[in-house]
Symmetry: C2
Subunit: 245 residues, 2 copies
């Protein structure tokens, strides 16, 4: 059954109203009145609908039933990444959306090379949100992960500490926990993954992470680029929680 | 201790001779005669050396000892990917090198949109090999994964079937094995990961894969882009074999 991802569609009163590009898309696919489609609301609910009206720029459908989107992972995972340079942030947003993140936040920490002016934040977030929406559509997600910039590193720690599992990836130090051990035998409902910018974290930041109760983790002996690390960590979490089966 | 990745350095007779850009790099770092460095030969061996001569364009060192590179994973994993369009292949090479692939091969299968002319293969491979070398250096690998184009899909299957574990990722079908189950409790010395091009595989290709003994796998309900799937699969393999600790 064709599935359409349509944030902002109106599902009130047992009917769905689809307008704009989504409506055009349905027309292009030559769907007919009476055809069944699945409409995702972008917030985790899929609506099974039957098309009732195909107008120019507006399509209407009858809602037959709804369910939690089956493509959404069982763990709600927020990715917190040190602000990377240039296109790396786009990549982080796209790949983490595909890999199942519920939210993607960038933060500034002491070793960030990229320090955009706060007045550029809204435009950056808008761009990332578009990338997240596109990736969510392509990968069949049930939600569009929110993308935002946190005010500082402390806010990232606070947000991570609120999750059932909080993993802080640090590239040095003997007392780090191996990733497979950090994930072994647990099935958290909420999780956070914190990774650093190009230069990694400094020791004081790692110490702070430890103090707020995060698990300071290693990710193997190979050094991952700052845009690769969040995807690898998220994949590991999705695998061990049964969300890659 | 500073580590230099120098494919082609000469380690004959207990001495190492470093020339070209690598020699310049050592000079730029202001290392002195008597300083210890680790030189990787790009084929899995690390040499602990003491600098004995710092000349213009040539550096010499005494070899104190050698060992298998500790950053190399315990599993030798070949990534076989359906030829993707444009820059996606660059991405596959870079990320799979970081994630620990031993070799990266592209192949043409029935749904490949990108079908480069064979006369362009050498130039493409040269470019990918440069990307692999750069990524291997940055991530501290002990080898540079070889990158090549296979003659056809059959060759990809043959190569995969020769490995101890062969995973074929297929996007549809009820009889696929979940990725966590496919990897559960095994520690292969060699493995292959086959993923499709943009359009995926056709049913006959999946059937062939099954017939040569590959495990036909799912990778969760989200649809990964063709350049994301190999990295996710490789990460899962590295995690379950203890190579992300």
């Amino acid at each position: 059954m064709p599935r359409f991802f349509m944030a902002g569609a109106n599902f009130a009163g047992g009917a769905a109203l689809i307008t704009g590009a989504d409506a055009d898309h349905i027309r292009v696919l030559r769907l007919q009145i009476g055809d069944s489609v699945i409409l995702s609301d972008g917030e985790g609910t899929d609506y099974e609908c039957r098309l009732t009206h195909l107008g120019k720029g507006a399509v209407e459908a009858e809602v037959l039933g709804s369910r939690r989107s089956p493509s959404e992972p069982s763990v709600s995972a927020v990715v917190l990444a040190g602000m990377p340079k240039g296109e790396r942030s786009d990549y982080t947003v796209q790949k983490c959306t595909e890999a199942g993140a519920s939210e993607i936040c960038f933060f500034l920490s002491s070793r960030c090379v990229c320090r955009p002016a706060p007045e550029t934040f809204p435009k950056k977030c808008e761009r990332w949100q578009r990338i997240a929406e596109e990736a969510a559509k392509q990968s069949g997600r049930g939600i569009i992960p929110k993308v935002r910039i946190l005010s500082d590193f402390g806010q990232a720690l606070d947000l991570a500490a609120k999750q059932e599992l909080g993993l802080f990836f640090y590239e040095t130090g003997a007392d780090r926990v191996g990733l497979s051990r950090a994930l072994s035998g647990i099935h958290p409902a909420t999780a956070a993954i914190i990774t650093g910018p190009e230069g990694g974290f400094d020791p004081a930041e790692a110490e702070l992470a430890r103090r707020v109760g995060l698990t300071v983790c290693a990710m193997g002996p190979r050094i991952l680029r700052c845009e690769t690390a969040p995807v690898v960590a998220l994949t590991a979490l999705m695998l061990t929680t049964g969300n890659l089966d």
